[in-house]
């Protein structure tokens, strides 16, 4: 990764271009900044072949898009936001399956420690809040990435604890419970598959920005 915020302006570069890349580097993972910098520098060098450096830098940045436009596009493509959006879209389906199972098995009569429903409700509301804010992220890559990871972990907790609670405490495991468990397990497998990408993205961002 290139430290755009501290390095001197190199040959074939322009202070306005490196300044622009420095602003992106403050917010984005290093791999993505490296890719963007390669593209912007190639754009600048194409313009510089036919014009003076200042005009070339202005034209290259205009063609590339202003910092907020590019940041916004990066946040929208952030793995945390993508995961949050998919979990938010599938949430009502899994929720409806569980609502049906809980009503059919009269969940209010289950013999569970009193803390379990409270913890489940807390986790559920935290998850929904993280998913809503994470999926709407437009400004901060770091916040969107973090919220996506938190929401994914919380979804894993819910999709593990609800089936366990149902199997332990429900008086009978009927079709509604099996359907709800199936929905949770499907989402659990998908979420587990996303975790490496989410963690890699979040970890890379922190390491790059700590440099």
């Amino acid at each position: 990764m290139t430290a755009w915020t501290t390095r001197p302006v190199g040959p074939g570069e322009h202070p306005a271009v490196t300044g622009y890349l420095g602003l992106l580097a403050e917010q984005l993972p290093g791999d993505l900044v490296d890719e963007l910098s390669d593209g912007l520098l190639q754009t600048y060098q194409r313009h510089a072949r036919v014009g003076d450096p200042d005009t070339a830098a202005t034209a290259a940045i205009a063609e590339f898009g202003d910092v907020s436009t590019v940041l916004n596009a990066c946040v929208q493509a952030c793995p945390g936001r993508q995961a949050a959006r998919r979990l938010l879209l599938t949430g009502p389906l899994v929720g409806a399956a569980w609502a049906c199972a809980l009503v059919v098995t009269t969940a209010w009569t289950w013999q569970l420690p009193p803390l379990v429903p409270v913890l489940l409700a807390f986790t559920l509301f935290t998850t929904i809040a993280a998913l809503v804010v994470g999926s709407a992220g437009r400004v901060s890559y770091r916040r969107t990435s973090t919220l996506g990871s938190i929401a994914a972990i919380a979804v894993l907790l819910i999709d593990t604890s609800l089936p366990v609670a149902a199997l332990v405490a429900a008086p009978a495991v009927n079709a509604a419970v099996l359907l709800a468990i199936g929905a949770s397990l499907t989402r659990l497998v998908w979420t587990l598959g996303r975790l490496p990408v989410l963690f890699r993205d979040g970890f890379a961002l922190r390491v790059d920005q700590a440099r």
Binding site: E35, D38, G39
Partner: protein
Amino acid sequence: MRAEALKGHLNGLLLAALEAGPLHGYAVIEALRESSGGSIDLPTGTIYPALRRLEESGLIKGSWSEEAGRRRRTYRLTAAGRRSLAGERQRWLEFTATLSLALGTVPGPVSP
């Protein structure tokens, strides 16, 4: 053609640009510009995150190389990407055929 008009079609355009062979991000932009006769007017910095998103979806695969002292990421279509492109192309052909039927003929002047 501005970014708003391309909404919903960018994935297909990027996949089409990579159909002939692997390209790095800047070359993808050049290929898009060339294939559209220069009429695609997108902030080119937004193409890179779009490529990342396609990679996350498994439609393209990227690999790093080093050129002129800079890291460069080159993308190629995956089998899933080829299938997705074929689907996008088919839907587009159906869409344009339908619109051509509905909008393509200009009626003659109506006599009073």
